[in-house]
């Protein structure tokens, strides 16, 4: 039996927060096990307990510097329910939607252009010094500038609707605390056509990559799974802000449909495994072995009956055609799906900017107080659940969150193992480029392992390689 070898291992880069990949080799250099361990944020439930319900939508943004708006809106939706409000005013709902589309757009743009593009443009096995945004800019300088301006556009929409860049206060229980001025509207309308043009180009880039690398996309970290997301009530259209839950099998069979998200705890169970802090949710009726599922952009392309914005629907049909209308199980197709959602968001932003309800003054609805609230939203990375109970003093007594990365935990682990087995097993020498394949599989899910500190000197990312005797062969961490 061969001796364990010292191997240089690159860190898991371009993934947010604290994460660790462990890869176990047998004596023949075959991958026996490969796992992604995510250090999930803890202590939030304790932190939020005793807080007044009115401050929760603001406080929850402190969970995450990557997608604070998603937490803001999911918490606000839960607090709507507690405030007894089942239907917001038109201005309230449309301002929140505008905020959400701005958030999803800028988040997806960051991921695609800055984190995924180096892999897609130069190849997964390209030298590490080549796989970065600076090399992308050298090849395609206009792309880099567009990405920055699209991000800025989305961030400005967030600031206009939430009030501030960080710790926005826009969404409040029962509605919103501001409308959009004519001046703000005209500012955003001034460059909306350019945003649409650039989003169309981004869809083309992602589409062309997927189709030109059909064989790679078909095999790379690809496997059948169930899919779950919100879809619009009634017609099942893509709806990132609100709707009912739909789950499909890998072949497109409906597992459940149009289920109110307030029943999420009946529909899914959060499983626990000894080796991970992060839970493994599964669909209750299918059990832990068959019931795991994926969420996120590709899941949403699979579950949505259609997209209600014309340009994105053309792109959606194009993507669906690749698999003859059945769910697409290719992990890498997430990039294409992500860009279709950027296009959808920009179309929605244009639609909303032309809607006079954004200048309305009826901002907050009222209802009969309840003790429990559940808010669900389709965040950039997938389904996000916030669940609270409050007492008679409006203080939070219970809190449960299921974030997108938790929903995708099993899928990401399967992708890591699939790619490790295919690309690392049996090789005498394991190169940095080979290990980057594992990272590419993780990055396709754009996992937000955030909710972590980002102080100077921290080293939140680690990869560990274990030899046949179970001993640690190599470990590497990196400050980000």
């Amino acid at each position: 039996m061969a001796e364990p070898r010292m191997i240089e291992i690159s860190p898991v880069t371009r993934v947010e927060g604290h994460g660790k990949v462990t890869i176990h080799l047998d004596g023949e250099n075959n991958v026996e096990e490969a796992r992604l361990h995510i250090v999930e944020f803890r202590g939030f439930e304790r932190f939020i307990r005793g807080r007044l319900m009115w401050e929760v939508p603001v406080i929850v943004q402190r969970l995450c510097g990557i997608c604070p708006v998603s937490h803001h809106l999911a918490a606000a939706k839960a607090m709507d329910m507690i405030a007894g409000v089942d239907q917001l005013t038109p201005t309230g709902e449309k301002m929140r939607r505008l905020m959400h589309y701005g958030q999803v757009m800028q988040s997806h743009v960051l991921h695609f252009f800055h984190l995924a593009a180096p892999d897609l443009l130069f190849g997964f096995g390209a030298p590490a010094e080549k796989r970065n945004i600076f090399e992308v800019i050298k090849e395609k300088p206009e792309l880099g500038k567009r990405a920055v301006l699209m991000r800025k556009y989305g961030q400005e929409i967030i600031e206009a609707t939430a009030g501030k860049k960080i710790h926005g206060t826009g969404a409040v229980p029962g509605g919103i605390n501001r409308n959009l001025s004519i001046q703000q509207r005209d500012h955003f309308l001034g460059s909306i056509d350019e945003m649409i043009e650039w989003a169309l180009d981004a869809v083309k880039i992602a589409r062309d990559y997927t189709l030109e690398h059909e064989d790679l996309v078909a095999e790379f970290g690809s496997f059948p799974s169930n899919y779950m997301s919100l879809v619009r009530e009634g017609d099942g259209a893509l709806d990132l802000y609100h709707g009912n839950l739909r789950a499909l099998s890998s072949t497109g069979d409906m597992i459940f449909d149009q289920m109110p998200y307030t029943r999420y705890h009946e529909l899914i169970v959060e499983d626990v495994r000894s080796w991970s802090y992060m839970k493994f949710p599964f669909i209750t009726e299918l059990g832990p072995e068959a019931g795991w599922y994926r969420v996120g952009p590709l899941a949403r392309m699979n579950t949505a009956s259609f997209i209600d914005t014309p340009l994105a629907e053309v792109a959606h049909k194009d993507l669906k055609a690749v698999t003859g209308g059945s769910p697409n199980n290719s992990t890498l197709a997430n990039h294409w799906a992500r860009m279709i959602e950027v296009l959808h968001c920009v179309e929605k932003i244009r639609e909303l900017l032309n809607d006079p309800d954004l200048q309305g003054t009826d901002l907050i609805a009222k209802g009969d107080r309840r003790e429990e609230g559940i808010g669900v939203i389709e965040a950039p990375r997938g389904n996000l659940i916030h669940h609270y109970r409050v007492d008679e003093h409006d203080q939070v007594t219970y809190c449960n969150l299921i974030v997108s990365t938790t929903h995708n935990n099993e899928g990401m682990n399967r992708a890591v193992k699939d790619v490790a087995v295919k690309h690392l097993s049996g090789h005498e020498t394991i190169t940095e480029g080979m290990l980057n394949h594992v990272e590419v599989a993780i990055r396709a899910y754009d996992p937000c392992l955030s909710c972590a500190t980002h102080a100077l000197g921290q080293m939140p990312l680690q990869v560990e390689l274990f030899g046949a005797d179970g001993g640690l062969v190599d470990s590497r961490t990196q400050s980000i």
Binding site: I59, K145, K165, A452, Q458
Partner: protein
């Protein structure tokens, strides 16, 4: 001049950067544009490119001193690897995309408590913040005097 304080105020001493920038913003200092964010992103390169002097402010771990103040150079590409950017990569992006390389510094304020989700700074970090503020205000005054002398 642009000041960017960043960090997560919901993570104890990680909020040192925002606490610093919000304190400076509240003073309404002339010629000082202040930005506060959770993290650094690509679009900060655009803001950086429009200034001739930039100071990044972040929490720092593991230093004996209460704060550090270091001049920055644009970073090498391999340190770009996250949703969030380092100051060096923001500078490199500014230089690459916009051809602008303003003189830049990082003010790292030493923090101690980053573990749990909680608001507020630790007592020692708050003291470090006060020291860093006093240092920065003095430094800013020197910069202004130098600039005025140069224009005289």
């Amino acid at each position: 001049m642009l000041l960017i304080g960043y960090g997560n105020p919901g993570r104890g001493d990680d909020g040192l950067g925002p606490a610093f920038s919000e304190s400076m913003a509240a003073r309404g200092l002339p010629e000082l544009e202040v930005d506060t964010d959770y993290q650094l992103f690509a679009e900060h390169a655009l803001a950086v490119s429009a200034h001739d002097l930039v100071v990044f402010v972040d929490a720092e771990i593991g230093r004996q001193e209460s704060f550090s103040f270091t001049e920055l150079e644009p970073g090498s590409p391999e340190i770009l690897g996250s949703h969030s950017f380092t100051p060096e990569t923001v500078l490199a992006l500014s230089a690459t995309l916009y051809g602008a390389s303003p003189r830049s510094f990082i003010l790292g304020i030493t923090g101690y408590d980053f573990g749990d989700v909680k608001e507020g700074l630790s007592e020692k970090a708050a003291a470090n913040l006060a020291e860093a503020e006093a240092f920065f205000l003095k430094w800013l005054q020197e910069q202004t005097s130098e600039k005025e002398a140069a224009h005289a």
